[in-house]
C-alpha cells in the first residue's frame, strides 16, 4: 500500500538521508532506528509531506502523493510530532475532534456524528476521563494517548509518529506501545521513530536503520536484527539476549559495559 522509492530528503539543498526505499502494508509496524541527528525526523517529515522530497517519491497504492492536498493526505496519513501545541487551553475532546477536520466541508463544524467518532476513539483507548481535561495541562503520556485517539478519529490508514515513547515513564511507554499494536491489529500501518531497539525486536514488522545518510531495511527484525547491526548503528557494544517467558521468547537488547 505504501511504496517509498529512492527518496532523498533534507533541507534546502543539503540532503540528510538519501535513496530510501521501502514498502509497507496494513498491519505493519515499521520502526526507524538510528542515532541522534541521523535524519529520522527529516525522513518522517518528508513522509507526511511537511518537507518536499528532494528526489524520489512516495506512492500510496499507485498514486504519487506529491500532488495531494493536505485534506486528501490527512484522510490517509496521520502524524504525531514530538512537540505539542499548547498555546490555548483546548480540552482532550476538542483535540480528538480536530482529527475530523479533513472530513468537514470548508465552512462546517463537526456534527454529532463526528463527536460520536471522537468519543469512540477515546473510549477505545480508555481515556474518556480526559474528555474535559485541559490538553496543555496533561502529562506526556495522557497527551500521547489523546493524539493517538485523534489519529484514530482521523480514520487514516497510516499513522506516523516521531518518538512516541520519548519523555514517557515506564508504564506509559508500555501503554502507548500496546495501543499502537492494537491500531496495527485493526489494519493500520504504524511508522515510528524510536530510540529503543527492543521495540523493533518485539513489535516491529520491519526496521529501518538510519545512519550516515543512508537507510538499511531489516525485514522481520525479531529474526533478522542482529547485535552487529546495532553495534554498527550506535557505535556501542550491545548484545541481544533471549529470555524465555512461559512459552514465548522475548528478545532484549543489553548494553555491555
Amino acid at each position: 500500500m505504501l511504496y517509498v522509492k529512492d527518496l532523498s530528503c533534507g533541507y534546502k539543498d543539503k540532503p540528510i538521508v538519501e535513496k530510501v526505499s521501502f514498502n509497507g502494508k496494513p498491519g505493519d509496524i515499521i520502526c526507524l532506528l538510528g542515532p541522534n541527528g541521523s535524519g529520522k525526523s527529516t525522513l518522517i517529515k518528508t513522509l507526511v509531506g511537511l518537507l518536499e522530497p528532494m528526489e524520489g517519491s512516495v506512492y500510496i497504492g499507485d498514486e504519487n502523493i506529491k500532488t495531494w492536498t493536505w485534506n486528501r493526505r490527512a484522510k490517509t496519513i496521520s502524524y504525531i510530532p514530538q512537540t505539542f501545541s499548547s498555546t490555548f487551553q483546548y480540552t482532550g475532546l476538542d483535540i480528538v475532534l480536530m482529527g475530523r477536520t479533513s472530513y468537514l466541508g470548508f465552512g462546517s463544524s463537526p456534527t454529532e456524528e463526528d463527536e460520536r467518532i471522537a468519543l469512540e476513539a477515546m473510549e477505545m483507548l480508555k481515556i474518556l476521563n480526559l474528555k474535559d481535561k485541559i490538553y496543555s495541562k496533561m502529562s506526556g503520556g495522557e497527551r500521547q494517548l489523546v493524539k493517538i485517539a485523534q489519529a484514530i478519529a482521523q480514520q487514516s490508514k497510516i499513522i506516523i509518529m516521531d518518538e512516541p515513547t520519548n519523555n514517557l515513564d515506564f508504564g506509559n511507554q508500555i501503554t502507548t506501545l500496546n495501543y499502537l499494536n492494537k491500531c496495527a491489529d485493526r489494519g493500520m500501518m504504524v511508522i515510528m521513530a524510536t530510540h529503543f531497539p527492543e521495540q523493533a525486536l518485539s513489535f516491529g514488522t520491519k526496521a529501518l536503520l538510519v545512519k550516515n545518510g543512508g537507510v538499511e531495511v531489516v525485514e522481520e527484525p525479531e529474526k533478522n536484527l542482529k547485535d552487529a547491526d546495532l553495534k554498527k548503528l550506535y557505535d556501542v557494544d550491545v548484545e541481544i539476549v533471549e529470555l524465555r517467558r512461559k512459552d514465548k521468547i522475548v528478545k532484549m537488547c543489553l548494553p555491555v559495559y
Partner: protein, 335 residues
C-alpha cells in the same frame, strides 16, 4: 452537543447587550426617558402619533443611534480581530494595536485625509496600510530567533512606531486650520463625531470581515495549533491564514477609519471571553462579538456621561487595557 452547556453564556451576553443598548440612549446632556425612546424607535416601524418634540427625534436618530451602533461595530471589529489574530499567530499577547495594524491603518487614514480623499478612499487606504503593517510584522518576526511570543509583540511595537512616526509627519505637513485638527482629534480615538453616513460606510466592510470568520470558526481552532499539526490534520493553512488576515485587517481598518485609535480592546476582550467560555472558536467568536460591543458601548457611555466635558475614548480603553496587559505578561510565563 457538548457545547450546549456553554451556549447559555451567549444568551446571557445577548440580553446584557440589549439592555446596555437601550440604557445608552438615556445617557447624555439632553434627557430622553424610556417611554419616549420606545415610541421614537417604534415610530420608525409602526404609525404612532407623534407627541414628542422634534429635538428628541434628532437626538435619537442623528446623534445617539449612530454613536451606539458605531460603538458596537467598532467594539465588535477590534475584539474579533484580536481573537483571530491571537489564534493565527498562536500568541495570546497580540491584538490589532499591538501588531501595529491599527497604526498602519491610522497612517493610511491620515494620509487619505491629508490628500482629501472621500470616506471610501479613506477606508481603502487604511486597509492597504493595515495589510502592509501586518505583513511586515509577520515577515520580520519569523526571522527573529528569539522567543516567538515576545518577538512578535516587539516587532509589532516597532512596525507600529514607524507608522506612528509617518502619521506625525503627515500632521506636521497638514494645514493647521483645517486638516490638522481633524486628524489630531480623530487619532485620539473617539466616536463623538460619528455620523449616520459613517455608519453606512463601515457596515459593509465589517460584515465582510465577520461573516467569513464565523463560517470558518471551526478551522480557526485547527489553525491555532502548531503549523505541522494543522497541515497534517488536513488544513490548507496558507489559504486560511490569508483569509483571516484579510478579514481581520478589513474590520480593523474600517473601525480605525471612523473612530481613530482605540487601543487595547482587541487584547482585553478575547482574553476575557476565553476565560469565560474557553478557546473553542465555535463559542469564542459569538462571545467575543457580544462582549466586545457591550464593552465599548459601556466605555463610550462613561466617556460621554461621566463629566460635562467628553473624555476621548482611547484614553479610557488604555487606562483599562494597559494594566490588563501587564498582568498577562506577568502570568503568561508561569502557566
Amino acid at each position: 452537543m457538548i457545547k450546549t452547556k456553554k451556549k447559555h453564556y451567549v444568551y446571557i451576553f445577548t440580553i446584557i447587550l440589549i439592555l446596555v443598548f437601550f440604557i445608552s440612549f438615556g445617557i447624555g446632556r439632553y434627557p430622553v426617558n424610556v417611554v419616549q425612546l420606545l415610541k421614537v424607535l417604534l415610530s420608525k416601524f409602526f404609525p404612532i402619533d407623534k407627541d414628542w418634540p422634534d429635538t428628541i427625534n434628532t437626538i435619537v436618530f442623528q446623534v445617539r443611534l449612530p454613536r451606539i451602533i458605531g460603538a458596537m461595530l467598532v467594539g465588535t471589529s477590534l475584539s474579533l480581530s484580536g481573537a483571530v489574530y491571537q489564534g493565527m499567530f498562536k500568541n495570546p499577547l497580540v491584538s490589532p494595536d499591538i501588531l501595529g495594524v491599527s497604526s498602519g491603518a491610522a497612517f493610511g487614514a491620515a494620509l487619505a485625509i491629508y490628500l482629501s480623499f472621500n470616506t471610501v478612499g479613506i477606508q481603502i487606504t487604511s486597509f492597504i496600510f493595515g495589510l502592509i503593517a501586518v505583513g511586515l510584522v509577520y515577515l520580520i518576526s519569523t526571522k527573529i530567533k528569539e522567543d516567538p511570543i515576545i518577538s512578535l509583540v516587539i516587532t509589532g511595537v516597532l512596525v507600529g512606531s514607524i507608522f506612528t512616526a509617518l502619521t506625525s509627519l503627515i500632521k506636521y505637513l497638514a494645514d493647521t486650520d483645517d486638516k490638522l485638527p481633524t486628524i489630531t482629534f480623530w487619532l485620539m480615538g473617539s466616536l463623538a463625531s460619528i455620523s449616520p453616513r459613517d455608519i453606512k460606510a463601515i457596515v459593509l466592510p465589517i460584515l465582510l470581515g465577520i461573516i467569513p470568520l464565523f463560517i470558518l470558526r471551526w478551522r480557526l481552532n485547527v489553525l491555532s495549533l502548531e503549523e505541522g499539526e494543522a497541515k497534517t490534520l488536513g488544513l490548507n493553512t496558507a489559504r486560511l491564514r490569508i483569509i483571516v488576515i484579510m478579514c481581520s485587517t478589513l474590520m480593523t481598518a474600517a473601525s480605525v477609519s471612523v473612530s481613530g485609535m482605540i487601543g487595547w480592546i482587541g487584547l482585553v476582550i478575547p482574553h476575557l471571553s476565553r476565560m469565560i467560555v474557553g478557546p473553542d472558536y465555535r463559542i469564542l467568536l459569538p462571545t467575543t462579538l457580544l462582549l466586545g460591543s457591550t464593552y465599548l458601548l459601556l466605555i463610550d457611555n462613561i466617556a460621554r456621561g461621566l463629566t460635562t466635558v467628553e473624555i476621548p475614548l482611547g484614553i479610557l480603553t488604555s487606562l483599562v487595557g494597559a494594566p490588563f496587559f501587564i498582568i498577562l505578561l506577568l502570568t503568561n510565563k508561569r502557566s
